[in-house]
């Protein structure tokens, strides 16, 4: 670490020297971007798979094509926050002392909230050294509403937007007369429960909410006792925002209990989950997500996935939004010819960008929330060109909602920094 720091310093001196000599050649110092997510402990699988994806996207889309900003490479610096707010603070300080000014983070809204507060405070006190938060996955609405920040950009639809689509889909199913909601006991889990109940009451007042349960995040050994309650409640379907091990254990317990009802989820695929659910989950597990799954719409995205699989045979492209986020940040850098977070932030506002999937997505300037089409997919082995976990099973998109129909109002009153 120390050596790296010295080299960087040395590079800096070298640049100065070269520039003062009349800028003979462009300095090739890499553009360094931090990726801060759990790389160890309970939720390690999500973080490490995300890291592989962003590293691949940087290499495949930019570094192998001569870099960005006239030849500079992108270097992804991994920081392990163990998905803990405390550890996040420590890693943030490390990022700052390493001179990292762009931080990608996605897992856990609690962590994203901490990071957003920390960054806002830091940026206020350290003008000229600001840090930018690129949130690619934390979906608690508050991050782009009451707690919105100029320095925070979200590249995933938030929970209320997703639940709006999901409950529309559920409302179309006349067979569902009762619903059970179970989630992790933290901000995101509560948002899912409250919002789902609100939407279902509006759209299908006849659906009875027969249970709403919270369990501690990452602490439950065995979900069977919870599933016992679901069974005895007589629910026709389950909604859950669980992710990682909590998701797969819950789904397994539901399947093992012999309960044959649909499960509506946010994160029940990839990183071993699809393989573990296998045949038992077929046609029952539904996911709400952005970037349509099978069939993949464009040749470009297919090639991207194939190239990724060739390099990482045991992983999948689980989060295309990571690629979108990185591409948009790079587009903002190219547009402003700068790596300064303030310039990037201004350029990102109201940016419209066409993804590998051929879709134009929009970053709203008012609250820094992305808008793109949302899709509901089902866990199956039929018509799945790109499977997950090499299991033959994967996601097939069955319901699509265009971006315009996902736009929601925001309560964001953004404090904009003066420069």
């Amino acid at each position: 670490m120390k050596n790296k720091y010295i080299t960087n310093k040395f590079n800096g001196l070298l640049i100065c020297a070269l520039l003062s000599l009349g800028g003979i050649s462009q300095a090739q110092e890499p553009v360094r971007i931090a990726f801060m997510d759990p790389l160890s402990s309970t939720f390690a699988s999500i973080g490490t798979s995300g890291l592989k994806q962003i590293q691949f996207a940087a290499d495949y889309l930019f570094n192998s094509r001569g870099g960005i900003l006239g030849g500079r490479m992108i270097e992804i610096v991994a920081l392990d926050n163990k998905q803990s707010p405390t550890e996040t603070q420590l890693q943030f300080r490390r990022a700052v002392s390493d001179g990292l000014q762009i931080i990608f983070q996605g897992n856990s809204s609690a962590v994203a909230n901490t990071l957003s507060t920390t960054i806002s405070r830091f940026n206020r006190r350290n003008p000229g050294k600001e840090v930018l938060q690129i949130n690619y996955s934390a979906v608690d609405p508050i991050l782009t509403e009451d707690n919105c920040s100029f320095w925070h950009f979200r590249f995933d639809a938030h929970a209320v937007m997703k639940l709006d689509v999901l409950t529309d889909f559920i409302a179309m199913n006349e067979d569902i007369k009762s619903m059970y909601i179970i989630g992790q006991d933290y901000s995101f889990g509560h948002v899912v429960a409250d919002t789902a109940i609100r939407f279902l009451n509006e759209k299908r007042p006849d659906i009875e909410i027969v249970g709403s349960e919270f369990h501690p995040i990452g602490q439950v050994k065995d979900f069977t006792p919870y599933v016992t309650k679901i069974v005895s409640s007589g629910a026709d379907a389950v909604i859950t925002g669980n992710f990682g091990a909590d998701m797969v254990s819950l789904a397994r317990s539901i399947i093992d209990s012999g309960l044959d009802i649909p499960i509506y989820t946010f994160y029940a695929a990839y990183d071993g989950i699809t393989a573990t659910l296998g045949e038992d989950g077929k046609g029952r597990i539904h996911l709400i997500h952005n970037e349509t799954s099978n069939p993949i719409p464009t040749q470009e995205r297919k090639e991207f996935i194939r190239a990724f699989k060739a390099k990482n045979p045991n992983n999948d492209v689980t989060q295309p939004r990571l690629t979108n986020a990185l591409s948009m940040v790079v587009a903002a850098m190219e547009k402003t010819q700068s790596t300064d977070p303030y310039d990037i932030a201004l350029a990102l506002e109201d940016m419209r960008f066409t993804t590998l999937g051929g879709e134009e997505i929009w970053m709203r300037g008012e609250d820094h929330q992305i808008f793109q089409s949302l899709h509901i997919s089902v866990h199956t082995d039929e018509g799945v060109e790109f499977d997950a976990d090499n299991s033959g099973f994967g996601l097939r998109s069955i319901y699509h909602v265009p971006a315009e129909e996902t736009i929601v109002e925001t309560s964001c009153q953004m404090r904009r920094p003066r420069r």
Binding site: S41, S45, H215, V220, K221
Partner: protein
Amino acid sequence: MLEVFIFATLNGVVTGLLLFMLASGLTLIFSMMGVLNFAHASFYMLGAYFAYSISLTMGFWLGLIFAPLIVGVIGAMVERYGLRRVHKSGHVAELVFTFGAAFLIEESIQFFWGPDTKNYQSPDILDFPLFTLFGQEFSAYRGFMILISMSIFIVLFRVLTRSRIGIIIQAAITHPHTVSNLGHNVPLIFMGVFGVGTALAGLAGVIAGPVLTTFPGMAVVLGSIVFVIVVIGGLGSLAGAFIASLLIGLLQSYAIASNVGMPDLLNLLGVSFARDHPLNDLWTVTLPQIAPILPFLLLVLVLIFRPTGLLGKREE
């Protein structure tokens, strides 16, 4: 209501017995060496991963036999070449050693098997409902889990109380020097107990892997609760560990199955609070929500009122 009660009891028994397989080894090791083995739950995880790898090529049943054996041998080696050397430097060093071993095992598992959830499935032959009650199925595999852990308890109890080896082990727990003076090889007994203890943890991992999912966090989730059981049951008491395991398994299961919480209590008392009250979270907490911390509450109570644990004999 009755169905919930019956299934909560069954779930509690399954969890309790599983916890017992871990706690039995831990309590024996503790009473013998005076060392809390922090790596104990890691051996449980190791068991699940070995069994997963074996089951890929040779099926579940061979995994059930070989994985605990491999874990036991690794455990014995850890004792022979690690703990025994550290033993000279006192208990703190031993404690730190097992603490480090836990990290080492977890990281090695991530290194060799990766961080993903492993698709470790129960055998097809047990893939049917044992019985259906009120429309709920109780899977044969869970019945099998009960069977295995009950037989372990009976065998262990008989060996410790009825056999010659058991008598020597029990003597070595309380009077290691006398046993050694009588010509018994106490270090060998220690190694054996450590090996068997870790093998039991491995076996627990083998049978728990398919239902509780096999992933690198599985040791952390179970680790702290096992210590709670050992302390509540009384250090060194096998029967105590058995009672405490079932107690905690049932306690958690009933708490989750219940539907009561602070709102009910407040209604009963005729008190109500506004939704924007600063302590709103406290007034709305429910019993299922706090179920996983109940064992720790029990631990505090036991430590206050009966510091030796339920069946513990040792007075410091």
